[in-house]
């Protein structure tokens, strides 16, 4: 399985080369890679149907228990077939759609990259591996939505999709980690067996909420549905593939995958069913209000994703098979519709239903594909959409407690989607032919995919028992975590579900008939649509930018004093908190203070105060010198004669240097206002108090002396020196001293270089 993923990644990196070397045939050649993988996965059908899941895994981050693990069961297989099969068709289509476009190599590379990521996502058996591929799909989706990167709208939509799904992805990562904590394993296929442990764990609810957030953002569930229509800025093949057939279903995949572990609880039922039903209705209502075919399809996709979420949320035997059947049929018909609409757009130059009409004679193959798919979307027999819809009606009877409003929601949604299907199927192809007189059938690359997908939909509808059951039964079993029997027939007979379906279709027909008038009547309400969650997103982003700007203005304002204030203040506050919350402060015992020592200490304190109060540089330097000599005396008094000598010498030098270099500077001025003095003084005093406390706390701890003892014992015997400090410097730690000398030499070079620099000269020459 890793091989298939790597194969796609390799194809992705080779795509630009392939386009250069093979020219027009490159699209088909690249499509051969996913097509071969599709054949490979079809070959796996037998063993997976027989209930044998295959797995492979390698150690990855052994310390954290993360394995590069893959697992192929019914659910993964269904997705893998959709990803590779539709992927191959879309690559062929894309090569025709973008023929002659210099960006075609980039398109192929990004699509194959996405394909690899998506395949990895559905095959992953480790939560972290799943997350990595999940993020890769977000990133490649960003590249593909922003494909037309010279359009501002495309860039904005791409960024929006990335932010929404990326934020959800992070939440999901947190949720998966909590789930792993609760279950004791990150292996996805082992989670189902731990369901009781997980659901009784304290982390169950936080994990569930975070994972749902990830799934809902990815699958465009209400209120996160707004990014999906924006994503339609991508070229049609991208919309068909990512934003309808595969990527947006990743959220559904995650829910189905985790259903054995998390499903069945009240929280799961209510949250997932509620989100699904709300999305179903929202998407259907918004779809009905569109006249751009692509946007219309985008909103019906939102509605379909809501239906899938609803079905996963019900999590019964009926709902599992309905979910998998609907997943399959939706991928087929929606991909065909998007590709077909792309072909219409390509040939007729518009996607607006009000401007299209009568294209059936000019584009018979596209017309067939789109009509057959739209009828499947509406749920008419003998298409497979009919079977899925009947299953859906059966499953929703099993919604616990809230059956009534779920029924209402789905009735409304289905009727609106049926009307939308009518708009897609009828308007462009039948009726009076409008302006696009020159339109003719699309080239084979553009009709091949839609026609094949539509034919598949018809075939599945006619022979569901032999064609659809091998796909749906293992998938439903994997989703439920127990063997599930699925029986399918092309005609399900007269049942309450059928009556409902007929009622819905009738309602849909009425809605279709009044579409123009309804849109005109609802036109004044269009302003309301702007108050949707998209507005919230915009406000959030604007707020984020404003916050960043304010923060930058406050903290990064270019005033050195403020930088230091913030740095010192935070350091003192944080380190001080750590110190006072752990260490106990006690006055060190013994020692006493002699008069001379006290006098030196007093001189240093007076010197420090004098530096602060100095009015001229000279007084400041002199006072600093007093402190320096004080330090030297302390060294002398407490057993550091070498230190004292060095300090005396250096202090004398540095006072001289100060006086020589700075003698011509103006007197020290009071530049800042009084309030700033007070503020800085407060921070400085707390810094001083902190250091005093630190010294007291540190000297109160027992003094560990292994270094001191070692040097004391070896100084004479090993290094032939009696002065231990000197021996350390020139022998044991001689390289440190070499470094020190280097620093001095560099500083000296710097001084010479600076003195040679004459800024005035350069200014004059400018």
């Amino acid at each position: 399985m890793l091989t298939s993923i790597l194969l796609l990644f390799a194809a992705s990196s080779l795509a630009p080369l392939a386009h250069r070397a093979l020219g027009k045939r490159a699209g088909v050649c690249l499509a051969a890679v996913p097509a071969l993988l599709f054949a490979h996965f079809v070959g796996q059908l037998g063993s997976v149907t027989a209930g044998r899941a295959s797995a492979e895994s390698w150690d990855w981050v052994a310390g954290l228990g993360i394995r590069l693990a893959f697992h192929l069961d019914g659910l993964s297989l269904l997705f893998a077939l959709l990803v590779t099969g539709i992927g191959a068709l879309v690559l062929v289509y894309g090569a025709g759609y973008l023929e002659g476009d210099p960006r075609l190599p980039r398109f192929s590379a990004a699509m194959l990259f996405f394909m690899a990521a998506m395949l990895g996502l559905v095959l992953a058996d480790d939560a972290i591996v799943l997350f990595v591929f999940w993020e890769l799909t977000s990133v490649s989706s960003y590249l593909l939505i922003g494909f037309d990167h010279e359009q501002e709208k495309a860039r904005k939509s791409a960024l929006q999709a990335l932010f929404v799904t990326g934020a959800g992805g992070l939440a999901m990562l947190a949720g998966l980690l909590l789930l792993g904590e609760a279950a004791g394993t990150l292996q996805l296929s082992a989670l189902g067996a731990e369901a009781a442990r997980i659901q009784g764990h304290a982390l169950h609810l936080p994990a569930l909420l975070l994972i749902l957030l990830g799934a809902f953002t990815k699958s465009a569930q209400f209120p996160f549905h707004f990014w999906l229509p924006g994503a339609m800025a991508a070229p049609s093949p991208v919309s068909a593939y990512l934003h309808s057939a595969t990527m947006v279903k990743a959220g559904i995949y995650l829910l189905a995958r985790l259903n054995p572990a998390l499903g069945g609880t009240d929280a799961w039922h209510y949250l997932v069913i509620l989100a699904g039903a709300a999305t179903l209705v929202t998407g259907a209502v918004l779809a009905y209000g569109q006249t751009d075919l692509k946007r219309l399809l985008a909103f019906t996709t939102v509605s379909a994703l809501g239906t899938l979420t609803l079905l996963v949320g019900i999590s019964t035997e009926h709902s599992a098979r309905a979910a998998m059947a609907f997943l399959l049929v939706h991928a087929l018909y929606k991909a065909a519709l998007f590709l077909g609409v792309g072909a219409i757009d390509h040939e007729a130059g518009t996607r607006d239903v009000r401007e299209l009409g009568g294209l059936a004679r000019a584009m018979p193959l596209t017309a067939f594909a789109v009509c057959a798919s739209a009828l499947s979307m509406a749920g008419l027999p003998p298409l497979f959409g009919y079977v899925a819809k009947e299953f859906f009606h059966e499953a929703k009877q099993e919604v616990p407690r809230a059956a009534a409003w779920v029924s209402t929601a789905s009735f409304l949604g289905s009727a609106l989607v049926a009307a939308a299907a009518g708009l897609v199927a009828w308007r462009p192809f039948f009726g009076r032919r409008r302006s696009q007189l020159s339109a003719h059938e699309a080239p084979p690359a553009l009709w091949l995919g839609p026609v094949l997908l539509a034919l598949l939909g018809v075939a599945l509808g006619l022979f569901p028992g032999s064609l659809a059951v091998p796909l749906i039964q293992p998938a439903a079993s994997a989703m439920r975590g127990e063997p599930t029997v699925v029986e399918l027939a092309p005609w399900l007979g007269l049942s309450p579900a059928l009556v409902q379906s007929l009622l819905m279709l009738a309602a849909g027909a009425v809605l279709y008939a009044v579409h123009d008038r309804a849109l005109a009547a609802l036109a004044p309400l269009r302003g309301l649509a702007r108050l949707g969650p998209d507005r919230g997103y915009q406000a959030l982003m604007a707020g984020l930018v404003a916050l960043a700007r304010a923060q930058t203005r406050a903290l990064q304002n270019g005033v050195l004093g403020v930088y230091l204030l913030v740095t010192i203040g935070s350091a003192v506050a944080l380190a001080g908190y750590a110190l006072f919350s752990r260490a106990t402060l006690a006055a060190p015992a013994g020692g006493g203070v002699r008069l001379g020592e006290a006098a030196v200490a007093l001189a240093m304190v007076v010197g420090a105060v004098a530096v602060i109060r100095a009015r001229t540089t000279l007084i400041g330097v002199a006072a600093l010198g007093v402190v320096g000599y004080g330090v030297a005396v302390i060294f002398l008094l407490f057993g550091g004669p070498d230190l004292a000598l060095t300090q005396f010498a250096i202090e004398t030098l540095s006072v001289l240097l100060f006086v020589l270099v700075l003698r011509r500077l103006p007197p020290l001025r009071q530049l800042s206002p009084r309030s700033e003095h007070l503020r800085d003084g407060l921070v400085a005093v707390s810094g001083g108090l902190f250091v005093t406390a630190l010294v007291l706390a540190a000297t109160a701890t027992p003094h560990a002396t292994p270094l001191r003892d070692w040097f004391a014992a070896n100084s004479l015997s090993a290094a032939q020196g009696r002065n231990v400090v000197n021996v350390i410097l020139v022998d044991f730690r001689a390289f440190d001293t070499l470094g020190e000398i280097t620093v001095l030499a560099v500083a000296a070079l710097g001084v010479v270089a600076l003195l040679r620099l004459r800024p005035e000269d350069r200014k004059e020459s400018l």
């Binding site: 400041g620 800085d680 005093t692």
Partner: protein, 115 residues
């Protein structure tokens, strides 16, 4: 004595921190000087101050015998004194030239890279 030194070090740190937050560039340099002294004393004190005498092996002895003051912090401080002098020299020349080039000693007036 450690308690007294702790207070002195605290005062030196407080004064140094206060000075480096000033707008006058010379005060900044003076403040850094105070912080250097304070830090050296701090490290020195970490070896525990004692009046036991320098860590020098007396003539005739094979190794140093207690009591003696800790040589390890002393070696560190010795290095620090010399390096801080190098840094200070560089800093002083830099300040001098900056003042000559910009004509101001106010750090707030030096906020942009253009003059």
């Amino acid at each position: 004595m450690t308690a007294l030194l702790a207070v002195v070090i605290g005062i030196l740190y407080g004064a140094g921190l206060y000075l480096v937050m000033r707008r006058s560039i010379v005060k900044l340099v003076l403040g850094l000087g105070l912080l250097t002294h304070a830090a050296n004393l701090l490290i020195f004190t970490m070896g525990r101050v004692s009046r036991d005498g320098a860590p020098i092996v007396p003539p005739g002895a094979a190794e140093l015998t207690a009591p003696y003051s800790d040589p390890v912090p002393q070696a560190l401080v010795l290095t620090a004194i010399v390096i801080s002098f190098g840094v200070q020299a560089f800093l002083l020349v830099l300040v001098k030239l900056a003042h000559r080039a910009t004509g101001t000693d106010d750090l707030d007036a030096l906020r942009s890279t253009d003059q």
